[in-house]
Subunit: 322 residues, 2 copies
């Protein structure tokens, strides 16, 4: 069996791809614009070209191509439906479209959050445990459940939608109409809104300077920057977010009895400013019998974790999920 | 392989046991007091006698003995730790203690909520689906996750503690110190407390008569009785409980992508007075992509489901869990 596979991260803005060696990790990495506005077939052509380029660089025939994609993936892991940020995509069978161009090669699709989880399990912060809950903090709040080093997919492949779990049944409505959904607190837009409102109380905060007085420019990265400079407002806002994160993770741990959490995604760059308060809150939302050893770690591999996870789909085949 | 097994339901008050045929279900059923106050060894002796009695009635050697027990069960499914309602039990290896008396027979332990789930999967309301979330409404709120007809146990065997999932991070503290835990709303004691407080507003409610003016006597069964008579207060109180149940089930479905819920346990006798409001609430707490086909069913098998599930542990062996 070949020790090489191609991993692809299909994003609304960029296509990233890597040639991955089973043990040694990424050997070659490349990136180009998705050009999503030109429709699905154009994007498929670009993925095919990218994959073909990388597989010709492999010293041996590749094991297959794994793709992390936004949107809902079908049970057979061939088709993506209505991925956000990819206009004009309804249901697209990437596996068969790519095989038309690339010939008889295994092409496996998986939800991008699940792919990040798989990558973390084999190469990242999740490597030292068999099971963990992955939370990705970005525009939205996504997640993956890794159970005995496999992706827990649920009945239809849609498991781990942590972002839509409520922490307050009378809380604010996030964009999907679920009251008190965690995404409505700590999704990038919602956290930035909260920060803006709260800054009324902190007229001297460094944050005002960092955005040149235009609070619409606030984002978690700027919050982190200010917090790193010791800005009290920024620290408190990020701590507020971490507290909410701890609440929802407690609920998830009660349900799954999986006690390690790995946090990744852009917002996680705020690191311990969010994660320390989350760690403080978490045990209070876990039943006493499951409280021991609950741990929150930060994934530090960044985008690589997605490419490694995508390639891992090809290495593991059906064994990638439970 | 033998088609017979013995299933045992170890309760704080009663020991129940059944001789179960793999296809035909319960062939013989028996019950006696647990006499838990006389300590673990006495109870073990009673379980052994009961199991021995039933296996001698089987036309063939039994496949094994399955036991549903309260408390935490170890990963090997041999030992129970600190079961509530069984005073003086710290860690008790039921498998080895029973084998001392019964000889070389398979003895498998599992948490009682998981056992009810397994029974439902093979014989009850869960039979027609591969995966479902079981919620048992009783003194506490317990649960089980059945995934492809197996028990999802989590990292240590403690999964599906639905009762401790929060639905309001600033909500009331249930008995385990988790703010807003669902058990703090709809656990038997908490629901009864809520009813009592709320009856101040309903001086003419039938409930006052049903408890002879002693509101300390209120319990979910009496609420159901009054609701069945058309009592508005009782109906509203049970609907309040159902609404809360719908909230937490939404969170669980988002995490698991398992869209069928089976509700069992004593309080579920209140049936549609709780379940209809839960059904109305549920979709509002599930993300749109997972909302289709969410279903809440009532388990109607009662205690039998636990005995059938316990015996099923023996039939399935290691295949009973994922």
């Amino acid at each position: 069996m070949s020790s090489y596979a191609v991993g692809i991260d299909l994003g609304g803005t960029n296509l990233k791809a890597a040639l991955v060696h089973r043990e040694n990790g990424i050997e070659e990495i490349t990136q180009r614009p998705t050009e999503a506005d030109q429709g699905p077939q154009h994007v498929v052509d670009r993925i095919a070209a990218l994959a073909d380029e990388l597989r010709t660089q492999a010293p041996a025939e590749i094991r297959g191509i794994g793709i992390g994609s936004p949107g809902a993936i079908n049970w057979e892991r061939t088709t993506v439906t209505r991925p956000p940020n990819l206009p004009g995509w309804d249901s697209v069978n990437l596996t068969s479209l790519l095989r038309e161009q690339l010939g008889d090669v295994a092409v496996i699709l998986e939800n991008d959050a699940n792919v990040a989880g798989l990558g973390s399990a084999f190469h990242g912060a999740g490597r030292s445990v068999d099971s963990f809950i992955m939370v990705t903090l970005g525009t939205g709040v996504g997640g993956a459940i890794i159970y005995n080093n496999k992706i827990f997919r649920g009945s239809t492949g849609g498991a781990a939608e942590i972002g839509h779990m409520t922490i307050d049944y009378e809380g604010p409505y996030a964009n999907t109409g679920v009251a008190g959904a965690i995404e409505g607190y700590i999704g990038q837009k919602f956290l930035s809104d909260h920060a803006r409102d709260r800054l009324v109380n902190y007229p001297d905060s460094l944050l005002h300077d960092l955005v040149d007085g235009d609070l619409e420019q606030l984002n978690p990265r700027i919050l982190y920057e200010a917090a790193s400079e010791g800005d009290e407002a920024a620290e408190r806002i990020l701590a507020w977010a971490g507290h909410k994160l701890g609440c929802v993770l407690g609920a998830a741990i009660n349900l799954l009895d999986i006690r390690t959490v790995v946090v990744g995604g852009g917002v996680s760059a705020a690191g311990d400013f969010i994660l320390e308060p989350a760690r403080e809150t978490l045990p209070n939302f876990v039943m006493p019998g499951l409280r021991d050893d609950v741990t929150i770690r930060q994934e530090v591999l960044g985008n690589e974790v997605s490419l490694l996870g995508a390639a891992r789909l090809a290495f593991e085949g059906r064994e990638a999920h439970v």
